[in-house]
Symmetry: C2
Subunit: 471 residues, 2 copies
C-alpha cells in the first residue's frame, strides 16, 4: 500500500471494477450472513487500537480501503441484517432498498425545497400516501419523512405545543404544559419533551394494566389532578406496540379523552403500525384516524434500510407555524403543489429517502409485505406456544405481534446468564427488558430473511442452553 | 409488467444482475452528468400526475422498477452531483462514498449503543478525530455525527441551555434566555432556538459590518441591554462562512466576549470549516479552539454523500446531562471506552455513517482533499477577477472562500431575469440572496467534478446572456 495522491474521483473504470466487487460482496453477505456470529466477540476500544493512530495524510487505493473494511472493520460489526438478530426490534435492509441507497448517494440530492429536488419531494408525497392508504389513515393526513421516530415524535410534541400556545414560538418558555404517555412508552417521548423544553417533570407516565397498556381511567385522573394544580395538559402519546413488550394502548378510549380534554394525540406506532397492512390486523390502528399525528417506521418492519420514519399529521399548517422560517436565499415559488419540506421541521438538508421506500414498496407490493409480516406474527405465536408448553420457561407478556417476552423459571441472574450465553454463542442475538421490576428476555422476529427454522433453532438453543447451565 | 407475488428478497443472482446494472448506470451517470440539464424543466405536481394513482397491491420485477426510475423519476431530479450545480452550496458524492453507502445499507446497523454496532461507534470516534486534527481543533473535543448542521446546532443550543440552567431539563421553560447570532447567520440557529423553546423573540440578530461579519461591539452592547432588561444571555453563534456571502465572523473577538460574559460559544463552520484542512487557511478557524461547540459538515465540502454533519463539543458531559435517558431495554455495560452515542442527543437510531466518511477520507487523504479545495478557492478568485474587470457586473461581497456574490449592473428585476435565464438553460444552476436589501446572484464552487473550464463556461454563459438580454 503506497501513498498516492488522489486529486480526482475514481475513474469510471475503477468505479465499475470496485462497484462489481462491492455488489458481489453484498450478494455473498446477504446469502451467507447466517453463518456469521450475530454479535461480534470484541471489547470496547479494540477497533480503535487496531487502526492507525494518525489520520491519512495521503490517499489510498480504493481496493486497499475495501480490503481493510472486510479485514479490520467487519469483525467489529453487529449484524442487524442477520436473520437471527432478534434483539431490540429486528429490522431488514432488503436488496431493492440497498440498490436504491446506492442511487440516492449517486444523485446526492438535497430536497430542502421542492425546486431543489422535485422528484424527491413528489415521491415522498406519493410513497407516504401509499402507506397512509394501506394503514387505513385518513386521506387528508399530511406525510413527511424523518430519520427516526425520535425525531418524528419530537416534532409532534413541538406541533402540539404550538397548537395549544401559538405564541410560544416567539416567547419560548411555556411553563406548566404537561404531557401524558404510558410507563411503557418509548424513551423518545420523554427525550422529545426534554429537548423542546417541556421538562422531564412535566411528563406524566400513566400506569399500565396487567397487559402493559395505558389505563385510560388513570390518564383521566392525572389530567384532572394537573388541571387542579394549575397545569395545562396539552398532549397524550399512546403507543401501538411498546418497545418492551409490544403492548397496544387503547387508542379509541384515549382519543375520547384527548377530544374531551383538548389534548393533541400523537400515536407512536413506529413498530406496530406496519402490521395494519395485514387486512385482518387493521384494527391495530383503530382510533388512529382520530390522531393529530402518528409515526410509523418503514425502516422497522417494512424492509427499508435505515433510516426512514414516516410522520403524519392532520395539521400541517401547525407544523409550519411551529417551524417555517424562509431565509432569503431559499425563497422560491409558491405553487400550492410545490411542498417545501424544510418548512415543516428542524432539518434543512434532506436525502432522497423516498426513493428507497419507492423501490421497496413497489418490489414487494402490499400483498408481499403483508404476507411476510403475517409469517413473522405466526412464528412468534408458535414460539410463544413452545414457551407456554415448556416446564422451564414462562411467557411474561401477551404476544400481540412478533415479539415474545419470556423468562426461564429461575432467578433474574440465571436469566441474565442465559441471555449472555445465547448472545456469546453468535448463533442469535436477543435482548432483555425489565418491566415492573421483572427481568425478561425478548425475542423479536422481523427480518426478511428469518425463516421458521431460524425461530425453531433459536428455541432449541435457548432450551438446551438452559438445560445445560441449570441442570 | 405482470403482477407477481414477492414474498422473498431478490435472489443472489438477481441482486448481482441488477447490482451490476446499477453500478454501470452510476458510472455512466457520473461520467455524463455534465450533459444533463442541472435543473429539470418540470412543474409542481407533474411527477405525481405521471405515477399511478393507487398503491401497488402486487409486487413488481426489480428491472421494471429500475426502468421506471430512469424513465419517469430521473427527469424530475435536480442534479446536485452535477459539476455546474453552483447554487446554495455546491456539494459532491464521491465514488468511494457512494460505494460505502451501499455497504452501509447492506449492513443496516443501528449504532444507538456501542454494543449495537461497535464498528460504527469506534469508526465514528476515529474519523471525527481525524477531522478534528486536520482542522486544528483541540484533541479533547468530543465528536459525534448528526444528519445535518441544523440538528447539530439545535443540540448545541440545547447543551448551552443545560449549561446555564441545569434544572431546565426537569422544569422546562427557561424564559428569559437570550441567544446571539449575526444577521447573516443560517436560519438553523433561529430554528433551533424556536424548536427547543428559547423563542424567536429571544434570538438577537447582531448587525454586521460592511463585509457582512458580526460586529463584536454591537454584540457586547446587545448583551448589556439584555442584562439591563433582566434577561439572561447564554449563547452566541458566530459563523465561519455564512450562507449568503461566506463572510467569516471575528471568532477570536467573539470568544473574548463569550468568556467575559459567560456565554456558550457555538461556531457554525458547516461550510467554511472544511477549508481549514488547507495549511495556509488554518487561520479560518482561529478562535475556534475556544469554542464550546462547533459544527462542520463533511457532506458539504469533504466529498461525502449526504447526510453527515460533524459536531464537536468540549463538554460531552453537558450533552449527556441534557439528553441521556437510558431505558431498561438498552442498559448495557459501562466500560468507559464504550461510547453510547444515543446518550448525547435526540435520535436513537443511527446509521453507520462513519463508514462513508472513512472511505472518503482514506481515499483522498488530507493532501487530496486540501488540493481540491484549494482549486475551488482559486477558481472562485479567478471568477471574481473576471467580474471585477467586466464593465457590466460587480462583486457584491468579499470572496472569502469558493463563493462569489455578484450582480449585473442593472435593476434587481434584470438580475432576477438573468438568473432565471441561466437556470432555465440547464447549463448551470445558480442561486441568489438578498443582503441588506440588495439582490445578488451566488455562484458556489464545491463539486468534486467541477473544472476550471466549467467555471469559465458559466461565466461566458452569464456574460453573453446578459449581453443578449439587456443589449
Amino acid at each position: 500500500m503506497t501513498p498516492t495522491s488522489k486529486y480526482e474521483d475514481l475513474s469510471p473504470e475503477e468505479f465499475r471494477r470496485l462497484g462489481y466487487e462491492v455488489i458481489d460482496w453484498i450478494a455473498d453477505y446477504l446469502e451467507d450472513v447466517r453463518s456469521r456470529p450475530v454479535l461480534p466477540d470484541v471489547k470496547p476500544g479494540e477497533l480503535v487500537d487496531k487502526l492507525p493512530a494518525s489520520p491519512p495524510e495521503h490517499g489510498s487505493d480504493i481496493e486497499d480501503i475495501f480490503d481493510d473494511f472486510r479485514r479490520i472493520i467487519l469483525p467489529h460489526v453487529t449484524h442487524w441484517n442477520h436473520p437471527r438478530f432478534m434483539a431490540y426490534f429486528s429490522i431488514s435492509a432488503s436488496a431493492p432498498g440497498i440498490l436504491a441507497e446506492a442511487l440516492i448517494a449517486a444523485l446526492n440530492t438535497n430536497g430542502m425545497v421542492w425546486k431543489s429536488n422535485p422528484a424527491g419531494t413528489e415521491l415522498e408525497e406519493v410513497t407516504l400516501g401509499w402507506i397512509r392508504e394501506w394503514l387505513g389513515l385518513p386521506s387528508h393526513y399530511f406525510g413527511m419523512i424523518h430519520d427516526t421516530a425520535s425525531t418524528s415524535t419530537m416534532h409532534a410534541i413541538a406541533a402540539a405545543r404550538c397548537w395549544i400556545d401559538p405564541g410560544v414560538r416567539f416567547t419560548g418558555g411555556s411553563r406548566g404544559l404537561t404531557l401524558y404517555t404510558s410507563q411503557e412508552a418509548h424513551s423518545s417521548v420523554e427525550k422529545g419533551a426534554i429537548a423542546i423544553g417541556i421538562g422531564q417533570d412535566n411528563v406524566r407516565k400513566v400506569p399500565v394494566d396487567s397487559d402493559y397498556r395505558m389505563c385510560p381511567k388513570r390518564l383521566r385522573e392525572m389530567i384532572r389532578q394537573d388541571r387542579d394544580a394549575g397545569k395545562t395538559p396539552f398532549c397524550v402519546v399512546p403507543t401501538v406496540g411498546t418497545t418492551s413488550t409490544t403492548s397496544i394502548d387503547p387508542v379509541p378510549a384515549i382519543a375520547d379523552i384527548a377530544e374531551q380534554e383538548r389534548l393533541w394525540m400523537h400515536v407512536d406506532a413506529a413498530y406496530g403500525g406496519a402490521a395494519a397492512v395485514v387486512p385482518e390486523l387493521k384494527h391495530l390502528l383503530e382510533g388512529c384516524e382520530r390522531a393529530d399525528s402518528i409515526v410509523m417506521n418503514p425502516h422497522k418492519w417494512f424492509f427499508t434500510p435505515l433510516d426512514l420514519s414516516a410522520f403524519y399529521t392532520r395539521h400541517p399548517q401547525i407544523l409550519r407555524d411551529a417551524f417555517a422560517l424562509i431565509p432569503e436565499y431559499l425563497r422560491t415559488q409558491t405553487d400550492p403543489r410545490a411542498v417545501n419540506y424544510m418548512d415543516y421541521g428542524v432539518p434543512l438538508g434532506r436525502r432522497f429517502r423516498a426513493l428507497k421506500l419507492w423501490f421497496v414498496l413497489r418490489y414487494f407490493g402490499r400483498e408481499g409485505i403483508a404476507a411476510i409480516i403475517r409469517n413473522h406474527i405466526m412464528w412468534a405465536g408458535e414460539f410463544a406456544e413452545l414457551v407456554r408448553r415448556s416446564e422451564n420457561f414462562e411467557l411474561t407478556a401477551p404476544v400481540t405481534l412478533s415479539l415474545v417476552c419470556f423468562r426461564y423459571r429461575g432467578t433474574d441472574e440465571q436469566n441474565q446468564q442465559l441471555l449472555e450465553e445465547i448472545n456469546r454463542s453468535g448463533m442469535a442475538f436477543l435482548s432483555s427488558t425489565t418491566v415492573n421490576g421483572r427481568f425478561m428476555i425478548r425475542l423479536a422476529i422481523g427480518n426478511l430473511r428469518t425463516t421458521r427454522d431460524d425461530v425453531m433453532a433459536v428455541w432449541d438453543l435457548i432450551r438446551t442452553s438452559a438445560a445445560r447451565m441449570f441442570a
